[in-house]
Amino acid sequence: MNGRAQMNIVIVGHVDHGKSTVIGRLLADTGSLPQGKLEAVRESCRRNAKPFEYALLLDALKDEQAQGITIDMARCFFNTAARDYIIIDAPGHIEFLKNMITGASRAESALLVIDADEGIKENSKRHGQMVAMLGVKQVTVLANKMDLVGFSEAVFEKLKADYTAFLEAINVTPVSFIPISAREGDNIASHSERMEWYTGATVLEQLDQFVSEKESHEKPFRFPVQDIYKFTRSNDDRRIVAGTVAAGRVQVGDEVLFLPSNKKSVVQSIESFNTEPKNGASAGEATGFTLATQIYVRPGELMVKPGESQPQVGSRFRVNIFWVGRAPMIRNKSYKLKIGSARATVKLAEICSTLDASDLTSSQSKQQIDCRDVAECILETSRPIAFDTTAVSEATGRFVIVDNFEIAGGGVVVENLSVGETLLQQHIRDRESNWEAGLVRTEQRAIANRHRAKFIVFTGSKGTGKRAVAKALEQGLFQNGMNAYYLGVANIDRGLDADLGSHSDSAGERLRRIGELARILTDAGLIFITTIDDADDYDIETLKLLNEPNDILVVNRGESSFSRYQPDLQLVDGKAVADAVTLVAAFLKAKEIIIDYQI
């Protein structure tokens, strides 16, 4: 009953070249129209004294009919003897590129419609380029409106030669070219008697010949962690790592690795609801796992198998991007990157070249990426993320950029470039070379204060009482005559960070501000103490860099989120606050940060 195959097809092309007519025809000729729909459109035509057109079946919305163009992608369903199709009608009008992308990125194959009479237009090329970049592998070109050129073979061959040359330039090999008249029905469902020189497939035959993409079971296992669930309140103690398998397969008992945190565990069970127990999960399945060991993983990590080809981990990479944002993409602005299940703050580091997709002219000199540009550029995230280059794995090599709440661009990763100076390092170098120092020297402050300046970060998982220790340390140091200051992070949320809102995307910016604040307070000679829940390697490396040239000291209490970073001091969870403070003070003394400490 459910065995029928299904395929998503997108129809693209320049405005008025007849995409909707092709679909209307396909629906009508395969008998896929609900009775109500055809009658409603015929009735509307009769009321408005307009001739009935197949395109009207799709342009179901009122204002579309008024404008006479498809303003969004409409989906329609039809089937042939071979399989079921979802046809996505992507608008050809240039203003609606966003909709065309939405349609094409869901499709396995594309029909690209070109008006044989009007010839190749700007969007014929732009859409060809977009379809290729979005990863649609099978493209058939329909030379429409052959009735307007007298069903001429010469016109068809000329169009075929010209457009093939264009596609070759962008490394696309079309599956086929078909001469049609959608309005008259030629070569749609049956072979045209008026074009006997054409012996290839009709559109319907071609659709059935498209090959369905193989699910990528054989590829290395990739599982972007979408979320971690624990429904304790509903009396469920399972801790489930949930997501959709992007590639490959995994089985109970397999060792797994989480990136970029580098944590390892073993798959203990595969969880599901209302199914038989499962022993494995493979590409395409939305599933969940429990792990044999309790490790702390975050949503956004990439779960892989250590024995297989590994993904990249990095924060700087070369990409191909296409931009559809209202505002151009510019340097020194923070955007949000979404790749797989990971989200990161990202900046445009460099533009290598931009391409005008309609005429394929390229420019090396542009300073920004404008709407509808295709660009090769270098992006840098505030923290390393795990990904693949798109040549290796499409599903984990594609990303989008969010600007001002909107998806403004999308692209594919071409190369990992995690060497060389990062934007943060550049910033620190620039900041320090321009730092305006006062007349009081650091050593003078240390002598007068009888202690050196230090940025002390308490971290570890939530609820380990690290705040109590941090506050007690401040008090102890103060009572010993030292300039110590404890800052609760929540105070920053309501003050310095009030502009950031409560959204988790601004985590990178919050961290930057704490780091910059530490740079100032340690410069003032303070022992500056704060706490951060679950800081990981990158958090601490970032804070350390931001606090330069001053020193940072990291104290971890309880379970840590570090994989490589060794905290300066490890406190056992559950130890009395006073004892913990004594330990930290002794450590400060041993490191010659403070001279003396009396309890």
Partner: protein
């Protein structure tokens, strides 16, 4: 994976994405077959749990079986069940059955307005108290910023244009002509203050897929969908004054599937029994104004 597995996986992905990104999230449950399948998919996504409140707009003209069914499963599946209503329009009898408005205006008052104000928290929300097994006025008045809705693209023209994640502005208005792009499986999960996002996990499902999935999973649906011996059944559920049963002998889910595939309904639109659709502007006018 077969076709239903793929549809299920995509819907589960969307539900998890919504749950991850929207702090104040709810799911609309009309009690009909589509949103009941959606509720089932949430149990799939969250491994038997439904960590999202379910909101039902009660027009008080719903067929009584629907309300009984709602409350039964709210208790049985431990749902965080909420309903809202337009008590003012009901009290003043500003409805079509009372003869004081036309059908579309009645829909606007009892559904669109009630929904808008229940989502925003301006009007009272009634929450199922599982200990007392009855509804009590809910303390929570926080506006929902993510609203999961079970519309399908094949239902009618305007719904075929929807995105999986579809923004609505402060006045609940849907700008059909300027929607955000959806690349691959990345959706609009960021939203400006005061706006909200409608989430559509069932967009790619057809009416037939819904019934096939109900059959496969053995999902309990309201008995109104089946012929109880009188030769009629409901194909689409709504308020009793405006929803008519269709002539059908189908008494089981497989019989319904046969009817849709090759039988009498294989080429008749699903909402043909819904009277408000044939009035001027119909569903599209309602939807622009916040109707689902």
């Amino acid at each position: 994976m077969d076709h239903l597995d793929k549809l299920e996986a995509q819907s589960v992905y969307i539900l998890r994405e919504a749950y991850r990104e929207f702090k104040s999230l709810c799911m609309l449950w009309s009690i009909g077959k589509d949103s009941t399948v959606m509720l089932w998919l949430a149990r799939k996504a969250f491994f038997g749990h439904v960590p999202i409140p379910l909101v039902h707009i009660d027009t008080h003209y719903k067929i009584p079986e629907m309300i009984a069914y709602r409350d039964r499963f709210a208790l049985e599946w431990n749902l965080n069940m909420i309903y809202g209503e337009n008590s003012e329009a009901l009290a003043e009898k500003q409805t079509f059955p009372d003869g004081n408005t036309d059908r579309l205006t009645c829909c606007k008052y009892l559904k669109s307005e009630a929904l808008k104000h229940t989502l925003s928290g301006e009007w009272p929300r009634y929450r199922m108290n599982h200990d007392e097994r009855r509804y009590v006025v809910d303390e929570g008045r926080e506006p929902y910023t993510g609203v999961i809705v079970g519309v399908r693209a094949d239902e009618e023209g305007s719904r075929s244009k929807e995105r999986y994640f579809s923004p609505r502005d402060k006045d609940n208005v849907w700008d059909v002509g300027d929607q955000p792009p959806e690349f691959w499986n990345q959706f609009k999960t960021d939203f400006a203050p005061g706006t909200h996002v409608r989430i559509h996990p069932l967009l790619d499902w057809t009416e037939q897929n819904i019934w096939e999935y109900i059959e496969r999973e053995k999902i309990p649906v309201v008995s109104l969908y089946f012929n109880q011996g009188e030769g009629t059944r409901y194909r689409s559920l709504g308020c009793y004054p405006c929803t008519n049963p269709v002539l059908s002998d189908a008494q089981t889910v497989p019989e319904i599937i046969d009817e849709l595939k090759s039988g009498k309904f294989s080429n008749i639109a699903e909402r043909s029994g819904r009277a408000q659709d044939s009035e001027d502007g119909g569903l599209e006018t309602l939807r622009r104004d916040g109707y689902m």
